[in-house]
C-alpha cells in the first residue's frame, strides 16, 4: 500500500518536473519569437525609412543669374543669393511674394542679396493660366527688359486669379498688366494674346524639373532649399532675418 503511494508521488513529481522543463522551453521559445518578430518589424520599418531617404531628391539649381528662365534683382556679387521657383497661379507663391517682395527689393538695392525669380508651369492641370502668364512674362522680358519684366511679375502676383477660376484673368488682362508694368502694347500685345512663348515655358519647366523642384514656392538660400518655418509667413520672416 505505502509503496504504491510512494510510486504515485514519484510519478507525480516526475511529471511536474517534465512540465516545468517544458514550460521553460516554451517560455524561451516565446521570448525568441517575440525578439525575432520585433527585429523583423524594426528591419522593415528601418528599411522603409532608408528607401524613403534614398528617394529624396535634393534641389540642385543653377546659380542665381545664370538661368535664362528668370529675372534677377540686385548685385550678382552680393554676399547672399536667393532663388525663388514659382508658379503664377500658386497661392502660396503669392503669399510668399507679398511677405518678401519689398524687403527683398530693399535688401537687393542695399547690396545684401541677389534674388532671382524663376517662374515655371507647375499647375497647368488646373487651367492654362500658368502657361499663359509665364509666356507673357517671357514676351515682356524679351521685348522690354528685365526691369519691366520684374514689375510685370509683381503685378501678376498682385492680380492672381483664384485656382478655382484661373480663366478670370484673360490674355487681354495680361496685356493690360504688361502695359502697366511699362511694356509697349505694340511690341508685346500680339505675342501675349497668342501665348507665343509656350516653348519658353516648357523649357523653363523642364529646367525646374531637372533641378529637382517639385513644388512652389521652392526657395533656395545660397544654393540650399530654405524651408525654416511653420507657415509661408514664418519662412518669409526667417529668410529676411537671415539676410539682414
Amino acid at each position: 500500500m505505502s509503496s504504491t503511494k510512494n510510486e504515485k508521488a514519484d510519478r507525480r513529481q516526475k511529471a511536474a518536473e517534465l512540465r516545468a522543463a517544458q514550460a521553460k522551453r516554451e517560455a524561451r521559445r516565446r521570448l525568441f519569437t517575440i525578439i525575432g518578430v520585433v527585429a523583423a518589424v524594426v528591419l522593415i520599418i528601418g528599411g522603409a525609412v532608408v528607401v524613403s531617404l534614398a528617394s529624396k531628391k535634393d534641389v540642385v539649381a543653377a546659380p542665381a543669374g545664370s538661368s535664362e528662365y528668370g529675372v534677377a534683382i540686385g548685385d550678382k556679387s552680393a554676399p547672399h543669393q536667393v532663388i525663388v521657383y514659382e508658379d503664377f497661379l500658386c497661392p502660396f507663391c503669392r503669399e510668399f511674394e507679398a511677405a518678401t517682395r519689398d524687403d527683398f527689393a530693399q535688401l537687393a538695392s542695399d547690396g545684401k542679396v541677389y534674388v532671382e525669380y524663376r517662374p515655371f508651369d507647375l499647375l497647368s492641370q488646373i487651367g492654362d493660366y500658368p502657361i499663359r502668364a509665364a509666356s507673357a512674362f517671357a514676351v515682356v522680358k524679351d521685348a522690354s527688359g528685365p526691369e519691366v519684366a520684374k514689375k510685370f511679375h509683381d503685378l501678376l502676383f498682385e492680380n492672381q486669379p483664384s485656382e478655382q477660376d484661373p480663366g478670370s484673368v484673360s490674355n487681354d488682362d495680361l496685356v493690360k498688366l504688361a502695359v502697366e508694368a511699362g511694356a509697349d502694347e505694340a511690341e508685346v500685345g500680339d505675342d501675349i494674346r497668342n501665348v507665343a512663348r509656350k516653348d519658353w515655358v516648357s523649357e523653363a519647366t523642364a529646367e525646374a524639373q531637372k533641378a529637382g523642384v517639385t513644388g512652389t514656392p521652392t526657395v533656395l538660400l545660397d544654393g540650399k532649399v530654405y524651408d525654416n518655418g511653420r507657415t509661408i509667413d514664418d519662412i518669409a520672416k526667417n529668410i529676411l532675418a537671415e539676410l539682414q
Partner: protein, 180 residues
C-alpha cells in the same frame, strides 16, 4: 463579466460569436489602407514632406522628419495588422495616427486652408479641397473605429500571432483531489 470585445462588436451590429471574424475584417481593411497609403508615399518623400508642411502645423525640420518617417510607419502598422501580429499594439499606433490626422484636417478646415490632405500621396494647395474635408474626416473616423475595435478585441481569426505565439495553455495544475 465578459471583456469589452463583444460589446464593441455588438456596437457595430455583430453577434458575439462573429467578433473574431469581424476582427479579421477590421484588420484587413484598416491594415490594407495603411499599406496602400504608406506604399504610395514611400518613394516620393519630397511630396510627402510638402504634404506635411502644407498643414502649416509643424516647423520645417520636424515636417521633414515626419514626412520622411510617416510612410514607413504606415507600412509597418499595415503589415502587422494584415498578418495579425501584435495586433493590439499596432491598433493603438493606428488609432493615435488617425486621431492626429483628424486633428490635422480639422485644423486646416477651421483655419480656412485649402489643401489636398496628402493621405495617399500628393498634397499641397488645392483650391477645391474644402469640400472633401468632411468625407476625409468620415473615412478617418471609420478607420479609427476599426482600430479601437481591434484594441478591444482579444482574438481575431487567421492571426499569425496564434501560430507563433499561442496563448499559454492553462495547465490544469494537479491539485489533490481535483478532477476525481
Amino acid at each position: 463579466m465578459s471583456t469589452t470585445a463583444p460589446a464593441a462588436a455588438r456596437a457595430v451590429g455583430v453577434r458575439r460569436d462573429d467578433a473574431p471574424w469581424f476582427g479579421l475584417a477590421a484588420r484587413i481593411v484598416v491594415g490594407a489602407v495603411w499599406l496602400v497609403a504608406g506604399a504610395l508615399k514611400l518613394t516620393h518623400p519630397d511630396a510627402s514632406i510638402a504634404a506635411v508642411r502644407a498643414y502649416q502645423l509643424l516647423p520645417g525640420g520636424l515636417a521633414e522628419a515626419v514626412g520622411t518617417v510617416l510612410p514607413a510607419i504606415e507600412i509597418g502598422v499595415g503589415l502587422l495588422l494584415v498578418v495579425g501580429l501584435f495586433t493590439r499594439a499596432a491598433a493603438v499606433v493606428s488609432g493615435l495616427l488617425l486621431v492626429a490626422f483628424l486633428i490635422g484636417i480639422a485644423s486646416v478646415w477651421a483655419r480656412g486652408i485649402a489643401i489636398d490632405c496628402g493621405c495617399f500621396g500628393g498634397g499641397g494647395a488645392d483650391a477645391g479641397a474644402a469640400s472633401s474635408y468632411p468625407w476625409e474626416m468620415a473615412r478617418d473616423a471609420a478607420l479609427l473605429a476599426g482600430s479601437v475595435a481591434l484594441i478591444a478585441l482579444r482574438r481575431t481569426r487567421l492571426a499569425l500571432q496564434a501560430l507563433l505565439l499561442p496563448a499559454p495553455l492553462i495547465h490544469p495544475t494537479p491539485v489533490e483531489g481535483a478532477g476525481s
